[in-house]
Amino acid sequence: MIRLPSVPVVGVKLAATAAVAAVALTACSGGAPSTSSSSASDKLTVQFTGPPVSLNPALGSNGESAIFTALAYDPLVYLSGDGKLVPDLATSWQYVGTGNKVFEITLRDGVKFDDGSTMDANAVVGSLKYFLSAKGPMVAHAGKISSIEAVGTNKVRITYAQPNPDAALSLTQYNEFGLIISPKGVADPTSLLKTSAGTGAYTFDSQDSVTNSSYVYKKNPNYWEPSAQKFQTVNVKVIGDPNAVLSAITTGQVDNAGGSANTAASAKAAGINILTAPFFNWSLNLLDRDGSVSKPLADVRVRQAIALAFDRASLATALGGDYGKPSTQDMLPGTDGYMSNDPGYSYDLNKAKQLMAEAGYASGFEMPVITTSVLDKNTTISQAISQSLGAIGIKVDLHVEATGMSQYSSGVVSKKYAAAIFPTAGSDMMQFYQQDLATGVSQNPENSTDPQLESLYQQALAAPTDSDRTSLYQQMSKRLEDLAWIVPIYAPQTLWFNGKNLHNVSVSATNPNPLPEAPDPSLAWTLGS
């Protein structure tokens, strides 16, 4: 062994001093180098799973990603956490005449855009028209519009080409259409990527933001309802990894985050408040209703047998744990169109086998099914669905599209697959119809139609009252149950993790995506012990 030369005493002292200083500094930090603090009520930090599609509302996306635009742009109508329509830039709204085709809104007085210009009927018409011309991802949610015109200085009239009973809903923050952009912003849409041009409670601060990472919004000094501004700044941090989300929420670096069923137990153990809401159904969409790819599917008895082959309670528990619910109808409980007196698709293997035998397929058949691992990670849901079908003799040839959603969509419309495994909208019958049942949409590649269903839908669109529409939506649900085109399996719950100091957050089946800002102070989030 070589003898190590002695180290000068002064060196030891310096090293010790440095070590002590480092420990002391670290201890003083106490994890403080967070850019957020739950205790600082003037600063709210929320997590979002990915960067915004665009900061321009006309090119932005829906759902929870609306946070990137809704903080800076007020909608005409606000959708609250419990699913209520609340006046925002529009103080009132109504259909004119019968048939739900002409919709008129009355605007709030005294509201100014960020640039100081006045929000009036002409500005709103300009913004709505720009939204339609920009052809962004949400344009289909605006409805088929014939004209948009100003009626005086504070009224706007929208005329639809066909009845639209959800006109007010289409003007809420989640559909982007109703987020009003100033005339200056409309004239220079590129500027909207760097500066906001709305009337919202907060304004986008590009200087303090980092693209794809952190989006900072500062209190708008000219907001029309100052009592609803609960924060000086709102920071939306992009955190995709569920474990990083868990770390951030448990250490107080973010105050609100989208949760995951896999990390929910740890979050709960750390004292995090968890909010849940049903949102959509994982469904087996039997695309091939004419039997061109898999002949047996043309027989309604086979489709009904498939619907009866799932032990949904067991599947929901296995796939979603505490945060999965069996789903027996296309519409979720608590939404328009849900049939509370109808059990929907039950689990009955004997009846399923009997139906298969009656249809002439007692020994089963093989069918190609497409799914995507982009949404169904590790394809656990798809494999569970495939295995269940084996119980009635159906052998699934599962094709997993892993490269992206556009490839999956191409596969769905390719007419090579008899069925697709995909989430379907479960909170709004009109949205469900438009996304999954209408002719020309990707989830209906064979353009299947049913006269009875179409008739009910058209009646529902023009229904004079809400109760009439609810009744018609329920009749549609019943008809869909008989047709067994789309078979719901289970509804995963949308989870939200909220820090201990965050209050007034609410979610529901009709609005599972809460937002911190609201036109009414009683609906806005607050921070405080």
Partner: protein, 313 residues
């Protein structure tokens, strides 16, 4: 030495061109349509076609590449298909984060790795075996697992370091360094192990040479023998390993930045790949290549300083 640097810099030009071309071709071959990704699965074919036309995606890949390349010669790396932001601006925001991470990790690995290696070589015996075992463990433990363990222990349980986030150096040097402690540790484990092992072998080899014995016999102090002569001569292979670690840690930033939510180039590369945002992917690849060239150049210069024969080679 100047000639060496100039030669290396000239050689880097074709390298950059080849890398940019390969990345562009491979990126174009990856299935996926940015226009469809931007507009969503419900978008009409007309809307997708209009956006493809607007973004220039309807052009053949070589036309897109030459258009991009002509911009590069004017200092323009294009515009992100997704955010609409100039790629140069996006990268300027991200570069300091990744450089902080890589440079601190390299520095940390050098100091700790060489220190452990020296200690092990000098003391030998049990300590040497401990360093060997720790080296093996450092190489065997996956970085992502180490990262998760560090976050759970030091951020979630003990609350001594932040779990996520980055504070710019100019905003607060203290929070900058504190925020990087865990990511740097996660990134450095394998590097420390490799450098320690390499240092130990090299120092032991040098210490066994005749001239070292001569120094000792001549009464030269042990500190001088170790630091001035043994370490200097042992440093040549160690410098290579340090360079390799710096380059390898560039790759590792991809997951480290995701775990610790650092707004660096690794997380940007991940997101851009998912979005099929080719201009951003190209920009990241170009910057990464430049960093690799600079690191290799630094290693070459270090060789030159440590070994005069290299300067004239």
């Amino acid at each position: 030495m100047t000639q060496l640097i100039l030669r290396r810099l000239l050689m880097s030009i074709p390298l950059l061109l080849v890398v940019s071309l390969v990345v562009f071709v491979l990126g174009s071959l990856v299935p996926g349509d940015p226009a469809q990704t931007i507009l969503g699965v419900d978008a009409t074919p007309d809307a997708v076609a209009a956006l493809r036309d607007k973004l220039g995606l309807d052009q053949p890949w070589y036309a897109q590449y030459f258009h991009w390349l002509s911009g590069v010669f004017h200092g323009d790396l294009g515009t992100s298909l997704y955010s609409g932001e100039p790629v140069v601006t996006t990268l300027a925001e991200r570069l300091p984060v990744t450089l902080s991470l890589v440079s601190l990790s390299t520095l940390f690995c050098m100091v700790v790795g060489i220190g452990f290696g020296m200690l092990s070589a000098v003391r030998g015996g049990f300590l040497g075996r401990v360093v060997d075992t720790l080296s093996l463990a450092g190489l065997a433990l996956p970085n992502f697992w180490v990262a998760v363990v560090l976050v759970t222990l030091f951020a979630v349980k003990l609350r001594v370091f932040p779990a996520t986030g980055y504070t710019p150096l100019m905003t607060s040097p203290f929070y900058w360094i504190v925020g990087l402690v865990l990511p740097v540790c996660a990134l450095s484990l394998a590097g420390i192990a490799t450098i320690a092992k390499q240092t130990r072998s090299a120092v032991l080899d040098v210490l066994d040479r005749d001239y070292v014995r001569t120094f000792r016999a001549s009464g030269v102090s042990e500190w001088s023998v170790l630091l001035k002569h043994a370490l200097r001569n042992a440093s040549i292979p160690v410098a290579s390993v340090i360079g390799i670690h710096a380059i390898a840690s560039l790759d590792a930033t991809v997951f480290v930045e995701n775990v610790f939510v650092l707004p660096g180039m690794g997380s940007l590369a991940t997101q851009a790949t998912l979005d099929h945002d080719l201009p951003v992917i190209e920009g990241v690849a170009l910057y990464f290549t430049v960093i690799v060239i600079v690191v290799n150049l630094c290693v070459d210069i270090a060789y030159g300083l440590l070994n005069p024969k290299v300067r004239t080679a």
